[in-house]
Amino acid sequence: MPTIEIAGKDIDVNEEGFLTKYDQWDEAIAKVLAEQIGVEMTDEHWKIVNFLRSDFKSAGETATSRRVQVVGGFPIKEQFVLFPKKPAKKMAYIAGLPKPKGCV
C-alpha cells in the first residue's frame, strides 16, 4: 500500500487514494482531501464527516448513504447536494474511511 504526503504528514492510502488508517486522519487532511475532489467544506459537510467518523468507530464499518440518513439524520437529498453525484464514496473519502461495503 502506498504512503503519500498530505498536509505535511505521511499518510497510508490504498491504491485508489482512500486512507487506510483511521488514526492518521485529522481535519487538516480532510480539507485537502475535500479540495482535491472539488468539495468546499462547510459546517454541514463537517457534521456529516464527523458523523461518519464516530459511526465508523462504533459500527466498525463505513456508513452507507442510507445509514447516514436513518442513523445520522442527514437526508439523502442533502447528501447529494453537499457531495454531488457520488455522495457515499465522497463522504467516506473525506472522512478518511474505506468505501462503504453495504449495498443499500
Binding site: 503519500i4 487514494g17 452507507t64 442510507r66 439523502i76 453525484k85 457520488k86
Partner: protein, 176 residues
C-alpha cells in the same frame, strides 16, 4: 482551482460533476416482494454512482407504485425450488409452499429489515430523493383501470412503450 496545500498524489476518480452522465433504465415487471428488490437495490446503487436513473413499472410491477397495494407485496415459496428450510439446505416441499406465503413474507421482511434495507415504499422515497425518476406503463394502467391519482405522487407520468423507448435513448436497460 488554486492549490495552496500539498496535493495528495493519489486521488480517487469520482468523475466530473458536470460531465455527461451514464444513463440507466430498469423495467420492474414483478410484484412479488422478493422480485421488487433487485431493481430497487440496483437503482439506488446507480444513483449513488451518479448515474441518471429511470424506473419503469409494468404489469405486476405496478403493485410497487399503486397506493392501495404497495404496502402489501407478498413473497411466496410456491414455484420457487430454491427456497430452503431456515438455516439449512433442505428444500421446502412444494406441496406445502402455497400455504406458506404469509409466514414466508413475514420472514423475508424481517431479513431485509435486519440488513437495514427499507420496505418498498420507503425505498422508492429514497430513490426519488436521490434523483431517480419513476414512470408507469400505459397498458398496465389501462388493464388495471388505474390513473395517475392511484399511483405514488412522485410517479412522473403514465407513458406508452414508445415513449419509454424514446426516453431511454442511449440508456443501459435492465428487465426484471
Amino acid at each position: 482551482m488554486t492549490m495552496t496545500m500539498t496535493k495528495p498524489s493519489i486521488v480517487p476518480n469520482f468523475g466530473s460533476d458536470d460531465a455527461p452522465t451514464r444513463k440507466m433504465a430498469i423495467i420492474c415487471s414483478k410484484g412479488n416482494l422478493d422480485m421488487a428488490y433487485p431493481g430497487l437495490i440496483l437503482a439506488n446503487a446507480a444513483l449513488g454512482e451518479g448515474v441518471e436513473l429511470h424506473l419503469f413499472f409494468t404489469f405486476w410491477g405496478f403493485d410497487m407504485i399503486t397506493k392501495s397495494r404497495m404496502e402489501h407485496l407478498q413473497f411466496s415459496p410456491a414455484g420457487n425450488t430454491a427456497l430452503h428450510m431456515p438455516g439449512g439446505d433442505a428444500h421446502i416441499p412444494q406441496a406445502l409452499a402455497p400455504a406458506m406465503t404469509g409466514m414466508a413474507t413475514k420472514m423475508l421482511k424481517k431479513q431485509i429489515a435486519d440488513l437495514g434495507v427499507p420496505e418498498v415504499p420507503d425505498f422508492l422515497d429514497q430513490i426519488v430523493a436521490a434523483g431517480g425518476h419513476l414512470w408507469a406503463c400505459r397498458m398496465s394502467a389501462d388493464m388495471n383501470k388505474l390513473e395517475l391519482a392511484d399511483l405514488r405522487d412522485d410517479v412522473e407520468g403514465i407513458i406508452s412503450a414508445s415513449d419509454f423507448i424514446e426516453m431511454t435513448d442511449g440508456a443501459q436497460l435492465l428487465f426484471i
